[in-house]
């Protein structure tokens, strides 16, 4: 169990660094989402399921949706799609 916790914590650190150095904003939001999901698992391992539920619902759900919305508002999602088509 300790090993799993260490793995998750290392994943958290990698995610936190990857969010800031990723050039693509969409990738950043998705990495941030996975960060929140792993954080929820860690909350369960730390025996605070209340926080885990809130983290999963707010961090991985609503916040990411609002981030995607912001990306679409500033035109980053369409831009990426055009790049792929070209």
């Amino acid at each position: 169990m300790i090993l799993v916790e260490w793995l998750l914590l290392i994943f958290l650190i990698v995610c936190a660094i990857a969010v800031s150095i990723s050039k693509n904003l969409l990738n950043s939001v998705i990495i941030f989402m996975s960060y929140s999901l792993v954080m929820a698992v860690i909350w369960v391992l730390l025996r605070s399921p209340d926080l885990a539920i809130t983290e999963a619902a707010v961090g991985a759900g609503v916040t990411s949706v609002l981030f995607f919305l912001a990306l679409r508002k500033i035109g980053k999602l369409e831009h990426n799609k055009d790049d792929e088509n070209n």
């Binding site: 399921p49 209340d50 539920i53 809130t54 619902a57 707010v58 609503v62 919305l69 912001a70 369409e78």
Partner: protein, 331 residues
Amino acid sequence: MNEEIKLIWQKFFNWVSGNGPRPENEVIPPEPPPDLPFTQKPKDKYTRFHEATLKERYNQWLEIHGLHIFSLIYSGLSVLTCIVIVCLLLATVAELPPFGDEKNPANNEVIRRYVEHGGHETGAQNIVAGLILDYRAFDTFGESAVLFTAAVSVLMILGVSRRNNIEESSPDLNESGQNFLERAPPVNFHEIRQDDSILRAVASLSIPAILLMGCVVVINGHLTPGGGFSGGAILSTALILCANAFGFERVHKFFNERTFIISSSTALMIYALSKGYSFFTGANHFHSIIPKGTIGNILSGGLILPLNICVGLIVAGTLYGFYALFSRGDI
């Protein structure tokens, strides 16, 4: 001297009575021709290197290397600032008491009281729910009020301009909701969503499950982990998914601006009144008429169950309202 005072008085009088210069009467002076880039400027009288003064040599050197050096200094300073802040934070972390130590300042008599007497004092099996909705219910009330205020201010800022536009352009159409929806600016969702049968199938399967999950988390908040805030967030994700898969019109049928305002303000009022009653009776040692119930039953925990439902309603409405306002400009 007298003339000057008269002139100043005349200017002041003009300014007060509004006879001053007006922007529409001002004559815009013709723009001077743009400066030549420094490479094409006529050369100064010192053409040879040794004849230039020290200051001119310095200026020349600065024109060539200045930008590079400035960016170097800039990035170096930013890295230095980051390192200093990181060191400060790490030093602070090193000063913190060890994790889980029993002599930590957080382990005081308050926690012991909550853990030992929380069950029969609040009637809630989930001590966290009893803590945030009974002992510390005022904090949760503040949270809900802040969320509601934020949603209302977003509604004011983003909703008013659109409404004004519609009233100016077509005063006879703004009453009917159909035309209001048709006048919405084309959102990309409509283009993306056409014939998206996969999204619709997945959404129609998962929305009932998500809604049930949210209701369970809200209603069992005093028995199991969860509560109003997390359950409300789950409910709002179901609403957002429904709006994405089937369009905002589908959600608009049962949840519009009117419903949002009425449900949220009613929930806040119920919260404030019921909790005010229980604080009043508790502080004055009166007998409260609210029964505690047996621990573990669904109808237990005194006010915690209705308060959870209130908070869940507010959070669900607000988070969906944020999404709808930012994507469409209207709930």
